[in-house]
């Protein structure tokens, strides 16, 4: 029971991080129609900047704020210089172009911070344990969960209750119509991209104390974020939230319990060999199944007139 509680909270916390990462991705993907592989690089940069600035200022919170600003700045410059020209290209060309950016960012990180992994200690006031339903649990992980939920709530408010959010939804459902009605989509896109970059960076910063900060961490998690976006429905914040929490729980619980379940069915050596692979496969099997039944994802946003344009093939 204690293990189950711990794994569920772990899954939720992982899901929340995934949500921060996929929220930006789904907006950029859904509204601008851009398949951005470099989104994971911003996550990585956020983590590296956090280690850097936290070390300089000796304060986690200051480091977080500075890293957030620095990564958002990198994101905005990237959008202005490179990505803006990619919006109207087909998805394959976008993959090629943004993969070039991934190589650039990875190598740049290697040059600046070296090939070895870095670590970041959580702030002192969050380094202890707290009790969750009677189970001791690291306070920092719980704080990540809380912070993620707070940001999710803020994002929900922004998208569904503010004027900016209304314009954003309008552009997502029919870009030409929004343009015709006088929405400056170019400025809107830049703002959306900056928002997405910030969210991705925040995920990286919050994740930094939980793992080793290393080159390539962006690509590892990017694929999961894409799974979340596709399962939830491209462009849908609500879909990203449910998708992220679902995938977070599925992945965490799968890894924790699937090998044990298999051991009950197969012989131990077989189960030990197949278990880890099968639990890694679980989310991809889920994604394939979802796509076969509902190619638009579980929570597709409503599109009008130019239906399917954003998600259509080249």
């Amino acid at each position: 029971m204690g293990l189950l509680v711990e794994q569920v909270v772990n899954g939720l916390q992982f899901g929340v991080l995934l949500f921060l990462l996929s929220a930006g991705l789904t907006l950029v993907f859904g509204i601008m129609g851009l398949v951005n592989l470099a989104h994971g690089s911003l996550y990585m940069l956020g983590a590296y900047f956090a280690v850097w600035f936290a070390g300089m200022t000796n304060s986690f919170v200051l480091g977080l704020l500075l890293a957030l600003a620095a990564t958002a700045a990198v994101g905005v410059v990237t959008e202005l210089v490179a990505l803006r020209t990619l919006y109207r290209r087909n998805s394959l060309e976008q993959v090629l172009g943004t993969f070039g950016l991934v190589l650039l960012f990875d190598e740049a990180a290697k040059v600046v911070w070296g090939p070895a992994g870095l670590s970041l200690a959580p702030p002192e006031w969050l380094s202890g344990q707290v009790s969750v339903l009677g189970v001791p649990y690291p306070a920092y992980r719980l704080a990540v969960l809380a912070a993620g939920m707070l940001v999710a709530a803020g994002l929900y408010w922004l998208v569904s209750r503010t004027r900016a959010g209304m314009l954003l939804r309008a552009a997502a459902s029919n870009r030409s119509m929004a343009e015709a009605l006088g929405v400056n989509t170019r400025v809107l896109f830049s703002l959306v991209f900056a928002l997405g970059a910030g969210l991705s960076a925040l995920a990286g910063i919050l994740a930094a104390p939980l793992l080793t900060v290393h080159v390539g961490m962006g690509e590892e998690v990017l694929l999961l974020a894409f799974v979340v976006v596709v399962i939830g429905g491209v462009g849908s914040i609500r879909g990203a939230l449910f998708g992220a929490v679902g995938i977070g729980l599925l992945d965490t619980l799968g890894r924790a319990y699937l090998p044990g379940l298999l051991r009950g069915v197969f012989s131990t050596p077989v189960a030990d060999a197949v278990g880890p692979a099968l639990s890694s496969m679980l989310i991809y099997v889920t994604m394939a199944a979802v796509l076969l039944v509902r190619p638009e994802g579980l929570f597709p946003i409503q599109r009008r007139a130019e239906a399917g344009r954003v998600v259509s093939a080249p």
């Binding site: 650039l104 692979a277 796509l291």
Partner: protein
């Protein structure tokens, strides 16, 4: 295909063949290894180009089929099953299993369109990747070295051997020719037509799905063959052959060379391998140059190298 692209492709082929005497007389075995990798990458590119280029389907899991081919050779070599441990059986198995896995994956994936198709092919690729990781017997995560190479018609296809290199060139030549013939046939016309307007193709009474599935299977077979060559070339198989970054690399080869063109995969593989070679000779951090270069190609030359050569946007 225009005349200028054909001439340049011809020159490239001649240069690849000329590497054989150069290696023999000048004792430059490295050239064979480098060009061998180029040729194998180009073969896989020809396979992917059928789907990605000619059919206009954004497939992103083709490294899996290369991996299936590589593991076919690897497993039969290591197990030493009598009737399967010869080159003909190994290469045949790689082709058949490549086609078979592509048929199964294609039959499911082709029910979706656009980005969903891209993601679902990626998902299947990942499943096979983790499948390879779970093969503890063959090294699991790390993969395994192959103690012996395939033997084909009495020739041992050893790592770095002229025989393996010559076979790779022959396969590249044949695959390029076969793809060209296929795309000139009525079958190819259907694929190209469906890439431009699927609905119109359906309205003419053609079941696009079947044609695309056949193209997918053919592309899987060619990639499986490339994998069999690769296993011998590296004398090593590992799940890294199947990783999604490899699939992206393959797509880059096709796009860089010119998607949907006859010689695009050859140009793309040549540019990819040679650029990597030259740039990594200049600096350890060659990706700092290579990355922006890729972006630049997309921005200024969307038709790839073949597009640049023929002077048309779409090659």
């Amino acid at each position: 295909m225009t005349r200028s692209t054909a001439i340049i492709a011809g020159f490239l082929f001649v240069a690849l063949i000329a590497a054989i005497p150069a290696a023999l007389f000048l004792h430059e075995p490295y050239l064979i290894s480098l060009f061998g990798r180029l040729a194998i990458l180009a073969v896989a590119g020809v396979g992917l180009n059928l789907v990605l280029g000619h059919s206009g389907l954004p497939a992103f899991g083709h490294a899996a089929f290369v991996g299936v081919g590589a593991y076919s050779v690897g497993i039969t070599t290591l197990e030493g099953i009598p009737f399967l441990a010869n080159g003909w059986a190994q290469f045949g198995l790689a082709i058949v299993l490549g086609a078979l896995s592509a048929t199964i994956i294609g039959a499911l994936s082709l029910r979706t369109r656009g980005v969903a198709f891209l993601m679902i092919t990626l998902a299947f690729g990942q499943m096979l990747f983790y499948g390879a990781v779970s093969l503890e017997r063959y090294g699991g995560d790390d993969g395994t070295t192959l103690p012996t190479s395939s033997t084909l018609a009495g020739l041992s296809l050893e790592r770095g051997s002229i025989a393996l290199y010559a076979l790779s060139l022959l396969v590249l030549l044949l695959a390029t020719y076969a793809a060209w013939r296929v795309m000139r046939s009525p079958f190819g016309a259907v694929l190209r037509g469906a890439a431009v307007n699927e609905r119109r193709m359906q309205a003419v009474g053609i079941q696009v799905f079947r044609f695309r599935l056949a193209a997918f299977a053919l592309s899987g077979a060619i990639c499986g063959l490339a994998g069999a060559l690769l296993a011998n070339h590296a004398a090593y198989v590992s799940p890294a052959n199947l990783s999604w970054m490899r699939s992206v690399e393959l797509a880059i080869v096709v796009l860089l060379g010119g998607a949907g063109t006859t010689f695009g995969p050859l140009f793309g593989a040549a540019a990819f391998v040679l650029l990597e070679e030259v740039l990594s000779g200049l600096t350890e951090h060659w990706r700092l140059i290579f990355g922006p270069l890729l972006l630049l190609v997309v921005l200024v030359a969307p038709g790839g190298i073949a597009g640049l050569l023929s002077g048309k946007r779409d090659g």
